[in-house]
């Protein structure tokens, strides 16, 4: 940033926000749904970080979790199934001045959007991605998702899921350029808030998997972990070295106790938008010329067609 004047001179007015400044509409999630806890943590982050609503954007795909942008009084993009990440990447490229958040579910991200997910990790664009993982398709009333544990009975697997569940943490940690991976659980609100905050402050693609309860379709599934603190492995209290990728992969493979905290963080990796940053301003003329060039590729000139 070029400095002509001290920043304090510019911010003459005190920008203070309350939680209500980020609230929009009444959440339509079920009572007891973990999405509520994530929403509360994110709204609290926005307030504490004084994010300007007009400079913040939430992008989602399809699913229960993807209703998230409707409940944030910021810019939002409720996209199509599995495509939240490409939309967010486009926003990041075109508007680097915005803070970009992505809310995606286990079906949205790990199934139909899996290809986008893997490449988004590799591109390492600066955004905060919250994977609301309730281990089930909830909005469409109980179908097995890629993260449903083996044996989960659902409308698509009435005899129980046959396959081992996909582990989003190990998948993310296996992709080149991974720069931030954390895991949270929705029933530990203070830890959830701290992890979302750390993810927001990380420069790069910060991926937070949040294990959340689905009171409607998998009621009581997480009760054993909720009722027994010994079955939660707090990484911040266990001396885990978040700069050690191999160790992060080992920890991520554990299913019980559930690891909670930052598994891996590497702030030194470059972001794609910075690698591709152009110093050329996007003037109206430049955009028009680019569009014309693209459209000309598909133009059939009548004279040429007649000759042909």
């Amino acid at each position: 940033m070029n400095d002509f004047t001290p920043e304090c001179l510019l911010r003459l007015h005190d920008e203070r926000y309350e939680l209500e400044d980020y609230q929009s509409g009444v959440p339509r999630w079920c009572s007891g749904c973990g999405d509520n806890a994530i929403l509360a943590a994110v709204q609290r982050l926005c307030r504490d970080e004084r994010l300007r609503p007009e400079k913040t954007v939430f992008v989602s795909g399809i699913g229960c979790s993807s209703r998230f942008p409707h409940y944030m009084n910021t810019y939002g993009f409720h996209g199509i199934h599995g495509r939240a990440l490409p939309v967010a990447e486009g926003i990041r490229m075109a508007r680097p001045d915005l803070d970009v958040f992505v809310n995606t579910g286990d079906g949205d991200c790990c199934s139909i959007g899996a290809a986008h997910w893997i490449h988004a990790v590799r591109y390492n664009m600066n955004m905060t991605v919250l994977l609301h993982d309730n281990l089930i398709y909830g909005l469409t009333k109980k179908q097995a998702s890629p993260t449903s544990p083996r044996g989960t009975k659902s409308n698509t697997t009435p005899r129980g899921a046959y396959l081992e569940a996909l582990n989003p943490l190990t998948v993310t940690l296996g992709v080149q350029n991974v720069s931030f991976v954390a895991q949270a659980v929705d029933w530990m609100p203070e830890v959830l808030y701290e992890l979302v905050k750390a993810a927001f402050h990380h420069k790069g693609f910060s991926f937070v998997r949040i294990l959340q309860r689905c009171p409607e379709w998998l009621p009581n599934y997480f009760d054993p972990w909720m009722k027994d603190p010994k079955r939660i492995l707090r990484l911040d209290q266990s001396g885990h070295d978040a700069s050690n990728l191999d160790r992060a992969r080992e920890v991520a493979s554990r299913l019980d106790p559930i690891p909670v905290g930052i598994l891996y963080r590497n702030a030194a990796l470059p972001c794609y938008e910075e690698l591709r940053r152009s110093s050329k301003p996007r003037t109206a003329e430049l955009i028009r010329a680019g569009l014309e060039a693209e459209l000309d590729k598909f133009t059939v000139w009548p004279q040429a067609a007649q000759k042909g």
Partner: protein, 662 residues
């Protein structure tokens, strides 16, 4: 023997030479013994000549020998490799000799006409009187180009955003929605679209909604200032306008230009600052108008101001220029000043004796005394090695002084400028150091002497080998002192006297020198020169001490009683006051905002500022609702306590259910 010693002592103390016992050194072309191996510099591969390349980072300058090595390294191995290497080294030597003899100059490509192709081309530069200014100007240009690029990146973006604001305003105007304008915005030209009807429709549906006139004026004024600026080259300037020059050769001219341009720069700074606010939608007229009305010198940060480069020669620094120099250094503005010294063995007119390096020491002392000035002192021979520090000083957002000894003195005994400059640094007559105020809090972090040879000792010691009268190889360690450096200057020949061969030399201070035939000569040094050497050493000690970390004051010993005393036990933290078991409560920090309790009774349970549940009003609900909320809470953080109303129906059953949450 006694008379020889007397004659030597007499010369040392009085400077009077007795004929027959001592000989003058004039005409003998003596040079310090340690410089014997550097008689023909052109035959040696060293840092010079330099090539000023077109690269923008610290690679803006590179030694010719390095470019040749890079080119040879990239050659595929084969039978021609040795031939290539031989030819390349010969050509390199020829170029070095041509430059040293003043027969060549210009670009490397004009002289390098043999394979292999060199990785970079550029202007050649030898170590001579023009080098310091050329070196600094090239480095400064690089830094300014980067600064200008940063400015234009932001200014261009702001211009686009401001133009967008005006364009959006225009399309909301009646003129912007006129049929003619609408027609111009359509691709169809066949009249199939009724733009008249569209215009009427728009005018009827959306009344004209313009920006306030004050905002339009403000945006136009910003655009005008951004587009019309002349401080940063590289963009399209207004017709006929040229960027301001920023290289000056006198302090007075630089000061005058700075004073004249200051209002214009203030205007530009105001435009950039307000444009940032405007583009972000954060300009609030009630708050910012008053601020920017008085936006002047005080609010100006120097970080982006273009740097002024002032190239001076110490011999031209008269009283007025010295005052201007002090004013520039003290201004805190990004002014980069090069002071070139061609002669540091000056004589004091008052003391009628040597006063070596006094002017350079005064200048450096003044700059160091200001505390926030970046200071770099170096011989020209060492400039290439200090290129990163030169760039750092040029990027430093404040004043910087570069004090450089060129070595191009007319009094040297046939020594090239490179050797004179290197000898000045070697002899502590012109030590290299840097002081970077941005490097840390204390002097130890800011000050560096590391570029000097053997910076921890008084005089650098070097091993010297020669053949004695019995043709035996003798090796001894020789210090290179100020006297050695002064011996290179013919003005000080009178301070030296050669001891004829066969004469002894007791305790009288002497130097080992070599004549033009590399014959070793012992030379007595006169006391005034020794005195100056001691002053020089004292100054060197001062420089060494300047950057040393001060020892922290030692802590007073603890009183005996305190040692024996058992440390008082920390009072145990008072346990959090637990609510009385009869009172209902919620562990609010553990609330997951799951909505269960507020859906049961949203007057009894409400969310706090963090959207976590608290009990707001017990009167607003029943004990049954409290128990039901506790049962539905998935993280079991609601504790119903005891009922307040003993007459509530079904209490016995409710108390049993509440027992699980006590």
């Amino acid at each position: 023997m006694h008379s020889e010693l007397n004659a030597q002592l007499a010369f040392h103390l009085t400077g009077m030479r007795s004929a027959g016992e001592l000989e003058p050194v004039e005409g003998l072309a003596l040079r310090p013994a340690l410089l014997a191996g550097y008689r023909d510099l052109t035959a040696l591969r060293y840092d010079f000549p330099l090539v000023f390349t077109d690269k923008s980072d610290s690679g803006f300058v590179a030694p010719l020998s390095q470019l040749v090595d890079e080119a040879l390294r990239d050659c595929p191995p084969g039978k021609d490799t040795d031939r290539l290497l031989k030819h390349a080294h010969r050509r390199e030597r020829e170029i070095r000799a041509s430059l040293a003899g003043g027969r060549a100059a210009g670009r490397l490509s004009e002289l390098w006409n043999v394979p292999p192709a060199l990785p970079h081309d550029g202007e050649l530069a030898d170590c001579d009187a023009t080098l310091p200014a050329r070196f600094m100007t090239r480095a400064w240009s690089n830094v300014q180009a980067r600064k200008a690029r940063r400015f234009h990146e932001e200014a261009d973006r702001l211009i686009v955003q401001l133009a967008g604001i005006l364009a959006a305003d225009f399309v909301h105007s009646d003129e912007g929605r006129s049929a003619q304008r609408l027609a111009a915005s359509l691709a169809a030209r066949d009249g199939s679209f009724d733009t008249e009807a569209m215009s009427r429709l728009l005018a009827k549906a959306l009344p004209e909604r313009r920006l306030p006139a004050t905002r339009r004026r403000r945006v136009r004024s910003m655009l005008s200032a951004l587009k019309g600026q002349r401080f940063f080259a590289g963009a399209e300037l207004a017709a006929g306008a040229k960027p301001f020059p920023f290289v000056f050769y006198s302090c007075a001219a630089a000061l005058q230009a700075m004073r004249e341009r200051r209002p214009l720069f203030t205007e530009l700074a105001r435009a950039v600052t307000t444009a940032r606010l405007e583009a972000a939608g954060q300009y609030v007229e009630e708050r910012h108008d008053a601020l920017f009305e008085d936006f002047a010198d005080g609010a100006l940060s120097a970080a982006l101001m273009p740097d002024y480069l002032v190239c001076l020669n110490a011999r031209n620094l008269q009283a007025a220029e010295n005052a201007g120099l002090a004013e520039l250094l003290a201004s805190g503005l990004p002014v980069k000043i090069l002071v070139q010294h061609d002669d540091i063995l000056e004589r004091s007119g008052v003391a009628n004796g040597p006063a070596f390096g006094a002017h350079a020491r005064l200048l450096a002392g003044m700059a160091l005394g200001l505390n926030d000035v970046y200071v770099l002192q170096s011989s020209a021979s060492n400039l290439y090695r200090l290129r990163d520090r030169v760039l750092k000083g040029l990027e430093y957002p404040g004043a910087a002084l570069f004090s450089v000894f060129s070595g191009a003195t007319q009094y040297s005994e046939g020594l090239p400028a490179y050797l004179v400059a290197a000898a000045a640094m070697e002899s502590r007559a012109f030590p290299a150091f840097s002081y970077d105020p941005s490097a840390g809090e204390d002097r130890a972090a800011r000050f560096s002497l590391e570029s000097n040879p053997q910076p921890g000792v008084d005089w650098p010691l070097h091993s010297f080998a020669y053949e004695d009268a019995e043709h035996q190889r003798v090796r001894q360690d020789l210090p290179f002192t100020l006297a050695d450096f002064a011996a290179c200057d013919r003005r000080y020949a009178g301070y030296f006297a050669r001891i004829p061969h066969g004469h002894g030399n007791g305790e009288v201070p002497s130097l080992l020198m070599v004549d033009r035939d590399d014959g070793l000569q012992k030379v007595i040094v006169a006391e005034p020169l020794m005195r100056e050497a001691r002053r020089c050493l004292d100054a060197w000690h001062g420089v060494q001490a300047f950057g040393k970390r001060e020892a922290p004051p030692s802590a007073p010993p603890p009183p005996v009683e305190a040692e024996k005393a058992v440390p008082a036990a920390k009072p145990a933290p008072e346990p959090e006051k637990a609510p009385a078991s009869d009172d209902p409560y919620i562990e609010t920090p553990r609330c997951t905002t799951c909505e269960e309790c507020v859906k049961i009774n949203n007057r009894m349970f409400v969310y706090d500022a963090n959207k976590q549940a608290t009990i707001a009003d017990l009167q607003a609900g029943t004990y049954r609702e409290l128990v039901e909320a506790a049962e539905s809470c998935q993280v079991s953080i609601i504790h119903p306590g005891k009922p307040r109303d003993p007459a509530e129906p079904g209490l016995e059953e409710l108390l049993q259910r509440a027992e699980a949450f006590r």
